[in-house]
Symmetry: C2
């Protein structure tokens, strides 16, 4: 096997934690001796073992002189809130011969320090192996740990002519069940899902994970007047305590109390120029609550604001092979007058799903990945 295959295995192991590790990253580790994998581990969830330690403890034979492959730089810090001892010390103690990592950990508590600790102990460290794959696996973590703000992923089910609903607000179903399964999988992987009030009013959505196995995300609603009907799913189902409604400081106190009595979290933030909850304030508050990633599921006004304010990291558009004609547009006025000023997505990727196409792209890889983008040549244009 080649280096890449061991690292690919580490990435596959890391993904086992998908949906459960937040606010920690997904990490996988593989221990290799004499050309054979003798130990594997991954980080299942916060407070549980780190991947490196699990791999060491699972090893089928002595790991002295073995090499370790790990998608992220091993931790070297011991802060009060941390529940596990630094992995670097364990690696040194076990006499690992060499460590291969995909990327450093931009967490200011680590950020190259883990590599330094290992190297000072005489253990060579090779970085950069499958760095791009590793960066995308933990893109939410990388954004959050460097900015304190969640990674924002706009998800749209859209017609070929750019509509997310007909003129009568019908949008069920633009995408088929295979595409909707992928959306539920996204919800499982992300900490939270956000919608605007118009979408809530039109669809009374549940925003839970039903079409795949997984855990439910926080459900975020922008509702400046707290107008959500009290019988609607988001504020009346068994997951109401996972609903966070952002409103304005002027919102009705009684409505607020009524929602809170059901376990719903109501947060008042300043208004933006249009009198809606300010998105930067919303993202800061979500970050403060430890929400590292957010899928924005509509509607058009909300998409437009996230795009206009350059507050999104990624877009997923599920194109159905239909033409709706005039209806609800996915994106409203951005003030773009020349093609050169249009938002140009980076690293676009296209995948077919039955007769649909799933387009993914990034707004600005350098802003999302921070120091990682600057270090990794493959993401520079």
């Amino acid at each position: 096997m080649y280096h890449e295959e061991y690292m690919a295995r580490a990435l596959t192991l890391a993904e086992k934690g998908s949906g459960y590790t937040s606010p920690n990253p997904m990490v996988g580790a593989v221990i290799v001796k004499n050309g054979r994998i003798i130990g594997e581990g991954y980080h299942p969830r916060p407070g549980e073992k780190h991947a490196e330690v699990m791999a060491i403890e699972n090893a089928s034979e002595s790991i002295e002189g073995a090499e370790m492959y790990c998608n992220l730089e091993p931790c070297s810090h011991d802060t009060p809130e941390k529940r596990t001892p630094p992995c670097t010390l364990r690696v040194i103690r076990e006499n690992i011969k060499k460590v291969h990592i995909a990327t450093i950990d931009p967490n200011p508590h680590v950020s190259g320090h883990g590599v330094n600790v290992l190297q000072s102990a005489g253990i060579p460290v090779e970085t950069g192996l499958m760095a791009e794959e590793a960066m995308h696996l933990n893109e939410a973590y990388f954004k959050y740990i460097q900015t304190g703000l969640p990674f924002v992923h706009l998800k749209m089910a859209i017609s070929l002519d750019g509509r997310i609903a007909t003129s009568s607000s019908d949008s069920k179903w633009i995408s088929d069940s295979a595409a909707r399964k992928i959306v539920h999988e996204l919800r499982h992987r992300y900490d939270a899902v956000l919608v605007g009030f118009n979408t809530v009013k039109a669809d009374n959505p549940q925003l839970t994970v039903r079409l795949v196995d997984g855990r439910h995300p926080y459900r975020i609603v922008l509702d400046k007047n707290l107008s959500i009907p009290t019988h609607y799913s988001l504020v009346s189902d068994e997951f109401a305590e996972k609903t966070i409604i952002f409103t304005l400081p002027t919102a009705d106190k009684e409505k607020k109390a009524r929602l809170e009595s059901r376990g719903v979290i109501v947060e008042a933030v300043q208004g933006d120029h249009n009198g809606h909850p300010d998105l930067t304030a919303v993202l800061k508050e979500l970050g403060r609550r430890g929400i590292t990633s957010l899928v924005v599921e509509g509607g058009g006004r909300v998409y437009t604001e996230f795009i206009n304010q350059q507050l999104f990291d990624k877009v997923s558009m599920f194109f159905a092979p239909i033409i709706i004609g005039r209806g609800i547009e996915a994106v409203g006025d951005l003030g773009v007058t020349s093609i050169a000023d249009a938002i140009r997505l980076q690293n676009t990727n296209y995948q077919t799903i039955n007769d649909q196409i799933w387009v993914q792209g990034y707004r600005n890889l350098h802003e999302t990945f921070g120091i990682l983008a600057r270090e990794d040549a493959c993401l520079q244009d």
Copy 2:
């Protein structure tokens, strides 16, 4: 080699005539004996040899007892306007043992008669081999020969949010040069290109074939008031006699005379409910002139009318990875209020071109292919 490979070779040969055979179909023929291809031919252009005859005459050895593969039913008719003798007679005379064809020729003069003639002469005929590929190769011919109307292909360069230009009508360039090359290749393959007056006014396009080798198409403009500036390319370049302007009977006679003095063809047709040249009348007149295929290159008003009146056969959308926001929409009001009533494209196909995606689909395969769609199970849903 298998049957499919011989037929695939016949299709490849047929395509050599691409852009030059109209109003005839593209036809290729392969003669096989003892498992080897001993003769090949294709139809280069009207008035020249049919594929079957070219293959027979090119054969490297005696074709007695050989089998023939041909993408279209050999002709059996001898009408006054036809410049070549029926291929079926030649096939019979040469003692071909068996004939494989992809589809019958829905031309009312042939339409199964060629097969009957061969079978009556004791030559077995197998039909249906690679029928779908053969149908798409000659889709324009199949539409035209059964309806007298050109095959209409809407081509759009579009942003992910469904815009074909910014609010200031900037559209240069939504697609990159690789996509524009494909568009020029389309122009070469189609008999004519059509645009509305707004597009002419905004872009002063040439609509010629420049980025690839090929022949220039007829250039059709819808211009109800004959407002096209006389210095614009379409009415002043060296190909002005390949420009056809459709206007209304009320159009200014002097303007008409001035355009005609340059060789431009001006046709007055009845107005539609919006006071624009009626599209059905336009298509009928184009069909009458022997134009079998048409690429519609915009703008939004024209696309919307072709879609609303169900007058298109195929759509090609070249999506650039950009978001423009409010601007010129590709498709306007279609009166669609529920998703179930949206135009659902059939047989969609997706291809990437650098960072763009080319979406192709059909409006109604049964209407485009007529009796062929009814006979060929693979196109039925």
